[in-house]
């Protein structure tokens, strides 16, 4: 799995939005993911394919349904590459402080 593929997949705002939705509620069908989105079903399907190719989304069949799960393994690999084991907690504290001061996350 090339890291380029992961970064390219994450570089799109719509795809990050889809990951946010799975992060909020994991294991959704295509139909559930499309609900309330400004994107067409076709666009969502295309974005999901890119996310799946980057292994950021993993899919699983359950009966006749295909469920989508956020897969944080490639994001963890990015963190492992650049964030030393001792820095992780301090960075989390900084991120919490930033959240507290600025309200919510950026896009």
């Amino acid at each position: 799995m090339s890291m380029d593929v992961v970064f390219r997949a994450l570089a799109d705002r719509c795809r990050r939005q889809l990951l946010d939705r799975l992060h909020q509620t994991n294991g959704q069908t295509l139909g559930q993911l499309c609900e309330g989105l400004a994107m067409s079903r076709q666009a969502v399907t295309k974005h999901l394919a890119v996310l799946e190719a980057a292994n950021l989304v993993a899919t699983k069949r359950q009966g006749r349904e295909k469920l989508h799960f956020i897969n944080p393994v490639p994001i963890n690999d990015i963190a492992e590459r650049w964030i030393g084991k001792f820095e992780r907690d301090r960075l989390r504290a900084l991120a919490d402080l930033k959240d507290a001061l600025e309200g919510n996350r950026d896009e």
């Binding site: 994991n26 944080p72 393994v73 989390r92």
Partner: protein
């Protein structure tokens, strides 16, 4: 990724990683006490891995962290465990979860899928959600480079 934001309604996680190895070596890595001790940040998994047999995860000092039963074992393809925390009363009280490992050859790699699920919202699920990716990264590193990742406790 901020795992503290995970909704408590989450009842399952499904993780996938690709490791450059063979299904046989990966199976051994998942089931050998010596091997697990190397990449699971000091914990060891112990069992004879026969269906119906007990398994347990042991802290470096010998206390039992998690335990359960081997529900299915089809080497080197599929392993299903019932899984309960034994170390913290509030996690223990939530009862058993179910963890499924699936190994599929994919070219020169093996696709390893892990599903960890509970019947209802379960405190252990959000805890394993943050733990699994680190364990998988360490396992991948050990199999591909011969070195596991190290991490301080906590």
């Amino acid at each position: 990724m901020r795992w503290k934001e995970i909704a408590m309604s989450d009842t399952r996680f499904f993780y996938v990683t690709y490791i450059r190895t063979t299904p046989e070596r990966l199976w051994q890595a998942l089931t050998s006490a010596e091997f697990t001790g190397q990449y699971w940040f000091g914990y060891r998994l112990e069992s004879d891995w026969q269906p119906g047999a007990p398994w347990r995860m042991v802290f470096p000092d010998g206390r039992v962290a998690d335990a359960g039963e081997v529900l299915e074992a089809v080497p080197p393809r599929r392993l299903v465990l019932s899984w309960r925390n034994e170390a913290w009363p509030e996690l223990h009280a939530d009862g058993f979860t179910r963890c499924t490992f699936e190994l599929e050859p994919d070219g020169e790699m093996v696709k390893l899928s892990i599903t960890h699920a509970a019947e209802r919202p379960h405190a252990l699920i959000s805890r394993v959600a943050s733990g699994w990716p680190q364990v998988l990264a360490s396992l991948k590193s050990l199999l591909e480079t011969g070195r596991a990742l190290s991490r301080p406790k906590g």
